[in-house]
Symmetry: D2
Subunit: 359 residues, 4 copies
């Protein structure tokens, strides 16, 4: 197994970068929910390439065809399946990597895992091309969450050396998400975006790539979601966010920084706010014992620099069992962090909506 | 659901801090595997409290009784179930926290989740007391992995300000693990342990607590374990490691640090070593596309400072819906990081052995 | 995997016939539910052996010790774990079957499955001795269902040639269940019980055994439980009922008889009864498209005759790879059907309560 | 959840009778397996309607488009997804059943389950139209099983009063399956087919329908597949076979008939046949303790008569909450048993191949 996620809803993703189509089936959506297709398309456009000079030149049509699950745009209780045709496919670009794995790419591990039968074209099932189905499923969950008063948003916290301000983990509003959503570099502080743009352009100019950190928050979640031990919100969110290619770390609330602190610094004091229990700080990232406490859920995901770079790198010839060099050709993002932002939102929305249904 | 983990083997953990017993059932272990009970007990002793002046004074008997699954200490194909009696139980200590949740503890979220019916004594199902069953299951997986040439070990990378050297992610041997295993503060550099001890003692002297980071490595894994997208090794390991209380972050390989780098710095060049494909560096932490590449799997877990501290903190009275202060009484570790080391090893062993069986 | 069942609640059964204990963990029970321990014990007593001259002479103590999950007999949200010690164990009885499998018993398949490492004593994990944990879990679900107005009951429809009247699938009341519950041979028509008793005694006198059919009904279920295709009520009930040893068939509503009919005979006409939609007949067994329709759920389970008989039978010596004869010694029920009645009720209750939680 | 099945492979079925398409994703197929597309199409043609005067007049194109998972017709390790467009769709036929549920159809339960939002056209997700994806997935599993020496085949055992000979449960060869496979009424005894044809025509002439029983066998399975208690072969097969619309019962080996017997009649004596352990009879249907014993796996499924009949029947108006009559219009099979034969084969193949992978 591999490409399924969820307990109450089940996401089944399929496709390869250069297969006839990619797609997703969402099983378990309640019936009677209106889906706004235009809004879904707008959300998917945020992930789509070819939108700015910062991203790959591949002109994809990322708009899904909905095959089932809706009647007059209202969920009917049957699985909601969507496919996206792969159109701008140039498989010839990828012949070299079958024998010579790209460093830090899945080429070698896929070769071992699938005994040489993996689809190498465009990185096959390991491609970032598999994120549109994730985003399509997540885009639907985002809409449903919004209708129950839950909002999920993310921004780029860092690209290379350039950093944005973090979310204020106590005071986040959906307007904060709205304000940055359609920015190709969604950041809270405008100048941070400019610095990030320079990081990306510099990397590209050098035939290199650069990584970054995405910070995501969810507000409006009731206290009490998630389950103890292995089904906590952290476990559930981590289990899906690591499904986004290039994610190598995740932390909730104060995370690794909090691990250097004293309890007296890191503990979130409680107080009554009207009839509600709230915390003065939110180092817990809205989760205690795996369960939401009603404060914003806040987490950060580390995205490694794209492994496909134009520079010469050490590799091996698998057939010859000898050392060689590789210089990756073809279209590659110098930085996938901006396009990963809606992916992180989508993944969080799926995990949180699933936890909400499972409450 | 909550306390189950795994695909080929299924770990079901049960118990509360002050229930009659805690325990675990491991379903799916292959038959015919010899279990060394003395070794299992030795492993569990590493997690047990009351071993040094650094930990809680609760004198627990953590040695499990094996109820089923073994015949003459050899697995027989039936689920292997173990229980540990809770003996040194003083429930009276915990009466206050039913109404006044401890900051950054699961008291409040458990109250909401379970509608006031949660077991508050000793933190109930949310207690670190649920880690012995995890360690018992993991201790068995550690033995089985060792028998197939896979070794898992961890050390404390940081407590508060005091840091150890990281593992060399290329050259780790099982001897490295052996060398530190029985140290109450398992560190690679002896002086680091002394500095950590001071951090813990200082925290305790002030009625405070302190967090830290544990680094874990697994060597000897074949390339090709794990599955794409949602069943990658990162997803699987994260999904169980977040089941250890107080874990708030996880990163693989270069993790968050790698996210600040260029691809040319972070990529792991490949070369032939004898007949084997290896990498010059191991920023990938042994995992690409969710699948092992044959290099050591390396990850780090952030452990927040124990929320139970002796200092006065802001809280609320749930019954009175008013603000109040709380000063936690009772026996609490000023730092759970040392005792969490075998828990992290256990969790990793379960996830990796399960992935190995699921290959 | 093997001994786990459920979606919202998860039943993990462990133990062997002659291991230190057998037991079960129930994960996912909602908090705040009062459990009546005396009633649970009374339910378990129905399955216990040694109650009449019709059953095995083994004097078991089937009363479980509750290890966790309850506080003052109220569910606390943590898994509810129970164990039952195996006391009256005489392992020496079973030495022969290791080499000479009993015909139609799991001896041979367990030997192949577990490579000779299976626990042969008392049939190990394949014993009817594993049904007390099932009944313990089911007994709890039966109580919870009753509190929400759902009643589950079963009777013996047939033993050998002796048949009881079937349930009237339209008009069943909980009083019908109560009336027969404590009868060692629970039947609707008293004389049927006498005929069954003769079947059993005749089989025993001849060193033989006899099978039978159990009919089970559940009333009070709301319409709308279950899911299409693979998660229908039939799928869910069948998946657990086949977990009871010796069950070889299951049918819902008119089942195999209905398969010989015309649609005009088998269809259940609808009518309004007060404000409720009901059906004139109930050939559907209360399930259409996998989903309850509000009528009684009715199914029948076929129980094969106990394979362990005192007569000489053809077998093989596994070590010698040669034909031999076997004559089974030891304590065996000539008919397990009466003791399987509460097992079927328990299994149905688990499946239906799980479906109710999963609605 | 609803439309997912499997442990090692995961089948996700989607679509409604009149949605844009129906389809399936198969996750977890090993890489490197050659799929014969022409053979898959030939298998699907067996289920397709419009092939004889006995079946519905709907002219469907049941040939799937493969979207992913194959490279040069060889599995590549990514999920194998297929869709089939719904072309011959006349939704107007179904307007009446929204308010007036057809007796013994899922109309009413779907209405309750999905709160009136269910897709009523062509019975939506509850239609037999969802069986082509099941057959497509099963057709692939059948090919893979054949390549490892396992053959699955089924015949019609009974339609109404007309019965075929049962399989000889000891001596079945793949040639037996081949001989009947392409017969629209696959039976072992030619005259049985003629009698069945008359049953169907008689039912059709009267505006009625008729049910039947399908017997399925699998040969070549090694001993040792399946797991104890809840993951036995019976549990696994039942859990998928009840996913075929209209199945109301399943029995393995001697099933319900065996339940009336003595142990001495029903037990399968063992003997050595060359180096292999075999049984003289096969009342166990090849399964003991949930685990295959190397003999043919044999089971029978009861198929109720199609509920959609042209005769007047009692129903209700849901809007008016009053009694009414219904006479179903549109295209309906008088007997779905012949077309269900490949569905049963497909379901068995999926369950058995999944168990084989999970061994």
């Amino acid at each position: 197994m591999s490409s399924l996620y969820g307990k109450k809803i089940r996401i089944a993703i399929f496709g390869q970068s250069h297969s006839a189509a990619i797609g997703v089936s969402i099983d378990g959506l309640p019936a009677g929910i209106k889906i706004d297709i235009a809004e879904l398309r707008a959300f998917l456009r945020r992930r789509a390439p070819g939108q700015s000079e910062l991203a790959t030149a591949r002109a994809e049509n990322d708009m899904p065809e909905i095959l089932s699950g809706l009647v007059n745009n209202i969920t009917c209780g049957a699985p909601l399946a969507m496919i996206i045709r792969n159109t701008d496919v140039r498989s010839a670009d990828y012949s070299e990597v079958r024998d010579t794995p790209r460093p830090s790419h899945a080429d070698y591990t896929a070769h071992i895992k699938f005994g040489g039968h993996q689809d190498v074209a465009g990185s096959g099932h390991f491609s970032g091309r598999l994120t549109p189905p994730l985003c399509a499923a997540g885009g639907i969950c985002l809409q449903i969450l919004r209708d129950i008063g839950v909002f999920v948003g993310a921004h780029i916290l860092r690209i290379g050396d350039a950093g944005d301000d973090p979310f204020n983990p106590i005071y986040i509003s959906s307007a904060d998400f709205e304000a940055i959503r359609d920015n190709p570099l969604p950041v809270l502080r405008r100048e941070a975006g400019e610095a990030m743009r320079q990081q990306i352009q510099d990397a590209r100019d050098k035939g290199d790539s650069v990584g970054g950190v995405i910070e995501c928050a969810a507000i409006g979640l009731p206290a009490g979601l998630g389950d103890p031990i292995f089904d906590g919100i952290e476990n559930r969110v981590a289990a899906i966010v690591f499904g986004i290619p290039a994610v190598k770390g995740i932390e909730f609330g104060s995370g690794f920084a909090g691990a250097a602190r004293r309890g007296s610094e890191n503990n979130d004091g409680l107080y009554m706010d009207g009839g509600a229990v709230r915390t003065r700080t939110n180092n817990s990232g809205g989760i205690l014992g795996g369960i939401t406490n009603g404060m914003p859920v806040v987490f950060r995901a580390a995205i490694k620099p794209t492994p496909s770079i134009g520079l010469k790198q050490e590799s091996v010839s698998l057939s010859g069992a000898e050392n060689t060099m590789i210089q990756v050709q073809g279209r590659h993002d110098p930085c996938i962090v901006p396009r990963a932002v809606p992916c992180v939102e989508a993944a969080a929305a799926i995990a949180l909506y699933d936890a909400w249904l499972d409450r």
